[in-house]
């Protein structure tokens, strides 16, 4: 699977300052936490999807369609068993599923999808270097910011190595489809060991390459892309802050968007 999410376009979202986008994603996270009614979260998710469309990046989301569906299905199936509601739909040996708990499960599934989508919105429209830059300007220490960006950067590399390793072992007869559970562990070693070793080699090598180019984590350095906060950034942040305020008002004063009270 290709885990590179950056989608090189020149939309308004790509041009925003990375700090705005990081802040914006955090605001969307909080907005999501305001409600636990599926309808309200659907509205938020629709908003995020609309932003994806204007950023011409729906195809990035499409890459993760399986993950998104999986998160949703798990939520809908599991939550109802852990939450109690008033309107019981069916009971079985002490397990009960109510319509409230079912709706809550829906809401949580949609919330997870919104979380992932909002995070992906940042990755799809912001270069790795911009994320590093944004984090540093937000006051995150350089080594932490760099480590985070490196982790994002290396995910696709390791995924590629993983694909090659799987192919190499399958070529030797390794049968990944066989149903035998006892064979699991046996199948694990031929994949895990080469992946681990190639990851170790790679990171060690990368450290050599970075130092050879004069990189020191704690030394001052300039930046080729120097994002600027413009009026548009303030507009976006202002809009999201107002939305958050409105949502808080709806939840706390009007008690809208609540399926089960006392829960996020």
């Amino acid at each position: 699977m290709n885990l590179t999410f950056y989608n090189d376009e020149a939309t308004w979202l790509h041009r925003l300052d990375p700090r705005t986008k990081i802040g914006g994603v955090l605001l969307i996270f909080v907005i999501c936490l305001c409600f636990n009614h599926p309808l309200f979260i659907t509205v938020i998710l629709t908003g995020v999807l609309a932003i994806f469309t204007t950023a011409k990046s729906i195809k990035v989301l499409w890459k993760l369609r399986f993950l998104l569906v999986l998160l949703f299905v798990f939520s809908v199936v599991l939550w109802p068993f852990f939450i109690k509601g008033k309107t019981i739909l069916f009971q079985w040996h002490g397990l009960e599923v109510s319509s409230e708990s079912l709706l809550y499960g829906f809401a949580m599934g949609l919330r997870l999808m919104t979380f992932v989508s909002a995070g992906l919105l940042l990755l799809a429209t912001t270069k790795n270097e911009e994320i590093t830059n944004g984090l540093i300007r937000l006051g995150i220490p350089y080594p932490v910011a760099f480590a985070l960006a490196t982790a994002i950067r290396l995910a696709p590399t390791f995924a590629d190595a993983g694909t090659t390793i799987v192919q190499a072992q399958v070529s030797r007869g390794l049968d990944l489809d066989s149903k035998n559970i006892f064979g699991r562990f046996k199948r694990f070693a031929p994949l895990a060991i080469p992946i681990f070793i190639s990851a170790m080699r790679y990171t060690n090598f990368l450290a050599m390459a970075l130092e050879s180019k004069g990189f020191q984590p704690d030394a001052p350095r300039t930046s080729y892309y120097e994002p600027q906060i413009t009026g548009r950034d303030w507009l976006v942040l202002g809009f999201l802050t107002l939305t958050l305020a409105a949502c808080l008002y709806m939840r706390l004063s009007l008690h809208w968007g609540i399926i089960i009270s006392g829960r996020l």
């Binding site: 270097e129 030797r172 007869g173 080469p194 450290a207 050599m208 130092e211 050879s212 080729y224 892309y225």
Partner: protein, 565 residues
């Protein structure tokens, strides 16, 4: 002439090893000179490179004695980032050192570390992206570049730092011939600048343009001197694991006067001295293949990667016969590997059919297919996992349910064929690259597949190991295995393959006996390939032979005896 780099009795051995990687290296490289460091794999070339910018001993630790002075700085006494002000280094694995989102950011990375203001960075990126021919690709994602482009980016991003010393560790390894030519011409252009250039390479053809050649063997500096001195001594360089220059070797074998270093010089020499009667290339007899039973067959096969915009393979019709020895040639991205991965069912055709012994691959169980077609990946480290060579080699046959007796016999035979008898209880991770490659081959051989596919089996190997690997494949072929080799190394195809398949942009451009394919230089050029010096000379002289020995035999029968001019 002022010296730029001075080695003063440098010795180094890596931690936890007994054999020294470098022993008592002394010598100097003058400012603005171009030094080519050559030697077998494990001779200490990379260690020498890393000693120039202090990676040895600051990062790669071990016992260090002596010193290295670079532009007045002592390498071991300064940190690697500090040394980066005077030394730029392009490390061997060029893919792994590209780190940034796009081309311009990759080139900017070193400049950012130098704290250059943005306007200066732009100017440098402008100049150096032009120089390495990536000006049009500044915004491209580095992952989408071809191998040659990646290597040029790695070089360009170091060049942009404008360090007085530039070190490149095997910049032409693992690159298709066209990419290789680009890089060699780049090096030639760099010579005119005031930069000290240190380059390592396994290939003598790349060293012709150097000022100095340093010859390493087992960590010792065996010889140094200008190319005319070193490259003309075929036995010396062969003893260091380097393939001698074809032109020099031919002239020596023929006892002809002169030691031309290039094909052009050799051809001129032959003409001027009238060493040969003019011949007509059309007269040469070219071998014909004697095909056995069909074992692999593609019918109208097309393939598109899930995320791909265009077909990686287009309507391929190909049959491979039992006993074939096939070389698959073409640029990076021409579809060689994609096609080969269909042969053992790793990829399924988007359209058309892939048949193994007349049966579609889809009708095979995984383990049945593994017995028919074995596939050896380029990097042995992508498959080695067991603590001993024996267990590694036993993995395949065991998983296919081979009984104990057959298993033992097959392991012994596989180890014997790969020259690894006696290595049974060794840890494969502690072997060198050539040996690990052979473990990978043995682990496939133990299954006894009818067809063995090897993806770039000679990458990272020096001449001696390359020859050993290929001789081993030749023996396996004689034992009845069908061999398919994907390679960038033209001489390997020329000397060993009976049949060559030329690919370009997902199509087969030319398919026939190797001697015929390599006679068609125009077609090779269309696939961005070029024959080795030996075969270029053969084509100029209109010979039929494909190896030096055969060429000498062919020429001896008709050459003008020396002394008659």
């Amino acid at each position: 002439m002022t010296s730029s780099i001075v080695f003063d009795h440098l010795s180094f051995s890596y931690q936890n090893t007994t054999a020294p990687a470098l022993q008592d290296i002394s010598g100097e490289m003058t400012r603005g000179s171009f030094t080519m460091v050559m030697g077998h794999s494990g001779a200490g070339k990379s260690t020498l490179c890393c000693a120039i910018n202090g990676l040895v001993p600051r990062f790669l630790r071990g016992d260090y004695a002596g010193r290295v002075m670079v532009e007045g700085m002592e390498a071991a006494k300064n940190s690697v980032p500090d040394m980066a002000r005077v030394v730029g280094i392009v490390l061997q694995d060029f893919e792994a050192q590209l780190f940034s989102t796009n081309v311009e950011l990759e080139m900017a990375f070193g400049l950012e570390n130098q704290c250059l203001p943005r306007t200066d960075m732009e100017e440098r990126i402008n100049i150096y992206s032009q120089m390495v021919g990536l000006k049009e690709l500044l915004r491209r994602d580095t992952a989408t570049l071809s191998g040659g482009q990646k290597q040029r980016l790695a070089i360009g991003s170091v060049l942009a730092m404008e360090t007085p010393v530039l070190v490149m560790d095997e910049p032409t390894t693992d690159i298709d011939p066209e990419g290789r030519r680009h890089i060699l011409s780049l090096i030639r252009r760099l010579r005119t600048r005031e930069r000290t250039l240190v380059v390592t390479d396994l290939d003598a053809e790349a060293a012709v343009q150097a000022d100095q050649i340093w010859l390493l063997k087992d960590g010792q500096l065996l010889a140094k001197g200008p190319p005319v001195e070193i490259l003309t001594d075929s036995s010396l360089i062969e003893s260091c694991g380097i393939r001698p220059l074809a032109t020099v070797a031919l002239f020596q074998a023929m006892n002809w006067p002169g030691q031309p270093l290039t094909v052009e010089a050799a051809a001129a020499e032959i003409e001027n001295r009238r060493l040969l009667c003019p011949r007509r290339p059309e007269c040469r007899t070219i071998s014909v293949l004697a095909p056995g039973k069909v074992i692999l067959e593609t019918r109208n096969l097309s393939y598109r990667y899930p995320a791909g915009a265009i077909n990686a393979l287009n309507e391929i019709d190909l049959t491979i016969h039992e006993g074939d020895f096939v070389a698959m040639l073409g640029q990076n991205g021409s579809g060689k590997t994609t096609l080969a991965k269909h042969f053992n069912g790793l990829l399924k055709p988007t359209a058309g059919n892939m048949l193994v012994r007349g049966r579609p691959v889809n009708n095979y169980r995984r383990h049945e297919l593994a017995r028919e077609v074995g596939y050896i990946f380029q990097n042995p480290d992508h498959q080695i996992f067991a603590p001993t060579v024996r267990e590694e080699v036993a993995f395949g046959p065991r998983i296919l349910g081979m009984d104990r007796k057959a298993l033992e016999r097959n392991i012994a035979e596989a180890l014997d064929a790969t020259g690894l008898s006696g290595f049974e209880d060794k840890n494969p991770f502690l072997l060198n690259r050539g040996e690990r490659q052979r473990v990978a081959v043995a682990s496939i051989l133990a299954v006894k597949p009818a067809v063995i596919i090897l993806d770039e089996p000679t990458t990272g190997l020096d001449y001696v190991h390359q020859r050993d690997t290929m001789e081993m494949l030749k023996r396996l072929n004689q034992l009845g295995h069908t061999i398919i080799v994907i390679t960038h190394a033209m001489w390997i195809a020329e000397a060993y393959a009976k049949r060559s398949i030329l690919m370009k942009e997902g199509r087969i451009l030319l398919d026939g006996p190797t001697s015929m394919v390599f006679s068609d230089e125009a077609m090779l050029a269309a696939a961005s390939l070029a024959p080795s010096d030996l075969i270029r000379l053969r084509n100029r002289l209109g010979l039929a032979a494909m190896t030096l020995t055969d060429m000498v035999k062919e020429l001896k029968s008709e050459a003008v005896p020396p002394g008659s001019f």
